[in-house]
């Protein structure tokens, strides 16, 4: 059964077993995103619980225009960014970085996609949340530019620029940590 079919069945029958299917399919991925963004296991656990309650209470609002995964990831990213903002752990989530208006150099996708996992994790933990989230959306969730744009309410060209900047930040951080050119 596809996600969308499971959602329809749940809404029709209110049978918890259908919601359980969705939980089993997505809880691990959502937890992974929460732990990557919040960097705290307990925080991530509370967040996953609250995110699933949000999903449950808003399930009837899922229109099916986007993929179900895109819809729940958007709830997840927005929730985590909001939680960080409230805790003010990362001021970069509060304001757009206006300091760099230069066109960033193009970083090859292969550099990110073929990186050793340990290093990837270290660098992701070092870069600002806004850069990390957009890289996760593109490379982990394989969301299209259009889907990211709809989620962030930005134009496709703005999204492309954000991804370029995030990749450049990632590369710069990598070089700073590992003292070797990427």
């Amino acid at each position: 059964m596809s996600d969308e079919e499971v959602v329809q069945e749940y809404l029709k029958t209110q049978n918890v077993a259908y919601f359980d299917v969705l939980y089993k399919r997505y809880s691990g991925k959502i937890f992974g995103k929460c732990i990557s963004l919040l960097k705290d296991e307990e925080d991530a656990e509370d967040s996953v619980q609250e995110i699933f309650m949000k999903i449950l209470l808003n399930l009837s609002k899922f229109s099916g225009k986007s993929r179900f995964s895109t819809w729940i990831y958007s709830i997840t990213y927005n929730y985590c960014i909001d939680r960080i903002r409230r805790k003010k752990k990362d001021p970069s989530t509060l304001v757009e970085d206006m300091s760099n208006h230069d066109v960033p150099e193009d970083v090859n996708d292969v550099f990110l996609l073929e990186m050793e996992i340990g290093r990837l994790k270290v660098v992701l933990d070092e870069i600002p949340t806004k850069d990390k989230s957009i890289l996760l959306m593109k490379y982990q969730d394989e969301m299209s530019i259009k889907e990211i744009g709809e989620m962030l309410e930005k134009s496709e060209s703005a999204v492309k620029m954000k991804i370029k900047r995030a990749k450049q930040k990632f590369k710069k951080t990598y070089e700073e940590i590992y003292k070797e050119p990427a």
Binding site: Q14, V16, F19, D20, Y23, S27, G28, K29, F31, G32, I35, S36, E41, A44, E45, V48, Q49, F52, M53, L56, D109, V110, L112, L113, E114, M115, E116, I117, L120, K121, L135, L136, Y139, Q140, E142, S144
Partner: protein, 81 residues
């Protein structure tokens, strides 16, 4: 588009990291699952209560308002007499 296609055929460390996290945090998600089910049960119970008693509460309000309206009419009639 061609770039997106290309990404799907080559190695993807982001996906590998996701798989690794799925394994690493399996116990956490099982634990949270119990909590989510508990909340689901509570929500179900509340909605059952609302479903069961809501119509009765509405009836009570309708009866109350209609009886007070009848009382007003009766008082007006008495005054006129």
């Amino acid at each position: 588009m061609s770039e997106e296609k290309e990404n799907k055929t080559q190695k993807n460390s982001f996906k590998e990291l996701e798989r690794m996290q799925l394994e690493q945090y399996k116990k956490n998600t099982e634990k949270i699952g119990g909590r989510v089910k508990g909340s689901l049960g509570t929500i179900g119970l509340i909605s059952d209560i609302i479903e069961l008693y809501f119509s009765r509460i509405v009836d009570v309000f309708i009866n109350l308002s209609s009886s007070s309206a009848e009382q007003n009419v009766a008082e007006e009639v008495e005054e006129e007499e």
